[in-house]
Subunit: 344 residues, 2 copies
DNA sequence: CTGTTAGCGCATTCAA
DNA sequence: TTGAATGCGCTAACAG
């Protein structure tokens, strides 16, 4: 329980001198006393009382990392490598910057506000935040905030966000599918609630169609159910002879892999009977057979950029641009068939 | 920035009264003032200053969740669903108990001690801790500690730990392989550093051999390299005609799936040319083809039990037994071939 | 270069 | 049933 006062007594100096040594104000301390104090600090394994620090500075060294999620999320979705990759990258960089990570999942903006106030958070990283919530948070919170993969419903504020070229991702994968002769496809969104990224990707799909003087109707957007059974039933229905669909465009490798796996279990061959594409280019896309043709994104980099933006904001350095959109590209593997005579 | 003092002024009472309302000491507050104070608290969106709280009580509401890992871990390993499943489960339960999660990864015990002191942690959950480190931590730290998947090098202390029947898992899967006619197998450990769980599993393998009057030599234990390329080369070397090995017993689905995938890429059929088993029964084992025969464990439950143990320790309730070992069982799928004429 | 001091917001003890 | 006073350990402004 060593405190600054005790260190001071042991070293025979005043608390202020100890504080100066700790804070690196070496101009105000003689070499000799500095070394003496440092030795005592090391001996006693001094660790500052963060509570007292927060109280005195009304600001902590804690970064709140908050994952927004649907209230009743199944655990299985947490197994998505995306969240752990991004979290792992952020934790490391936050730690390297001398800050601490407070991890929290919620779908309630008030909880974020409370957390920020109670702990005097130095900054916040918010992942997957619905547009309307972003606004509330931005209007209320005083500390720096960086969003990840969020879409905003207003243009009144400058939001700092690290996202993806979602629209372009949808566009590129669709252009590829069109080049392979596919005309009837279904877009399969990850969730029915926070649709920012999914919407943008679908818009990209539609743009690719338009560019070819074709139309991808809004009806081709399908939000996947939260129940695995329901999803599997849906996958299978896409291969009915009555269904003209030749390609399923997933908004995540996770569900794409699930679909491929389901098809295999029912003797439906991918891609000869139906083509499938993913989104993310994570482990899953390389593990399933056929391996997924997918859109690449670098999850860890998202985390790293978000942390570096936040650190610049905390240190009041300039940040530009506020809205980073990471590049995407198509990774062609084996899950799409070349159609000789065009469908439709 | 509303403080208790301000709330008190708004409500026309003393700070002490406000504190009594907040802490539920309703016996010391009249119904009327209680309601008035509660209304003001809600209006002002009062959130207590946790720094002041820590200082006053010299204890915080923070649970430190610390994942031990090898210093230069590759990000790809973080994509292992195990860590996110367990983390997700713990975060939720900790939050439900009114505590906060401070997430940290390290391989240095001093960092744990510093963290605990600095933040006056209410409790610690330590994942994958090497035996010698456990001892140091236990000897130094005053707050409750629950370990997950840790093995201890001494029996002097009572360690609270949530683990797995690792030995039994190794035993069961090996017994199964023996029953399928396999006699030449290799055990593939996840890491070369923290070997507690891997060692126990391998011991289980050896016991199964002994039970059949056979011997599995120590040379059959192989720690996988951290480099993917090196691992892949190794997988392939197991199928050399010079290599009598008929089955690879992995200590995780992750690497087993990687191996299966590698074999497929090189035209080696699993299980007809070589059998593979996993450990964990996570998503990967169901996604690869052939699907993995593996040992089931429930990662989320580990997290939940650890949190509930920790909460009982914090609240000074009895905890029994200190060392929980979750049950395991073999899940038979398609990655093991029945050998008609025994090898060896 | 070194020491003294006030105050951050809360819990808690004691007094009314 | 309510209020006043103290101290937790640190920072930062100021005095020596």
């Amino acid at each position: 329980m060593s405190t600054i006062k005790e260190i001071a007594k042991s070293a025979g100096v005043s608390p202020t001198t100890v504080a100066n040594v700790i804070h690196g104000n070496f101009g105000r301390v003689s070499q000799a006393t500095r070394e003496r104090v440092e030795r005592v600090i090391a001996e006693e394994k001094y660790a500052p009382n963060m509570g007292a620090k927060i109280l005195a500075q009304s600001s902590s060294r804690i970064i709140g990392v908050i994952m927004f999620m649907e209230p009743r999320w199944e655990e299985s979705v947490l197994e998505d490598p995306f969240s752990s990759a991004i979290l792992g990258a952020m934790e490391r960089d936050i730690r390297d910057n001398g800050y601490f990570v407070m991890l929290h999942t919620t779908s309630d903006e008030d909880e974020v506000l409370r957390l920020s106030k109670a702990w005097k958070l130095a900054g916040l990283i918010l992942v997957w935040v619905p547009g309307d919530v972003c606004r509330v948070i931005y209007d209320t919170i005083e500390t720096p905030v960086v969003f990840i993969d969020s879409y905003f419903s207003d243009r009144d504020h400058v939001y700092y966000n690290v996202g993806l070229q979602d629209e372009r991702g949808g566009y590129l994968i669709t252009r590829y599918l069109l080049s392979m002769g596919h005309r009837n496809m279904l877009f399969l969104a990850n969730t029915s609630l926070f649709t920012g990224g999914d919407d943008a990707r679908f818009k990209g799909c539609q743009r690719a169609f338009l560019e070819n003087n074709l139309v991808l109707s809004d009806a081709c957007y399908h939000a996947l159910d939260r129940e695995k059974k329901v999803r599997e039933k849906f996958y299978l229905s896409c291969t009915d002879s009555s269904n003209p669909c030749t390609a399923l465009v997933f908004s995540s490798d996770y569900y794409a892999a699930e679909a491929v796996s389901t098809f295999q279990d029912h003797g439906i061959d991918v891609p000869s009977q139906i083509s499938v594409t993913g989104f993310d280019d994570n482990l899953f896309s390389r593990l399933v057979r056929p391996r997924l043709t997918t859109v690449h994104q670098n999850a860890s980099e998202k985390g790293r950029i978000a942390v570096s933006m936040l650190m610049r904001l905390i240190n009041k350095k300039s940040v530009s641009p506020p809205d980073v959109r990471l590049d995407v590209h198509v990774v062609v593997r084996d899950s799409v068939k070349k159609l000789e005579h065009n469908g439709s």
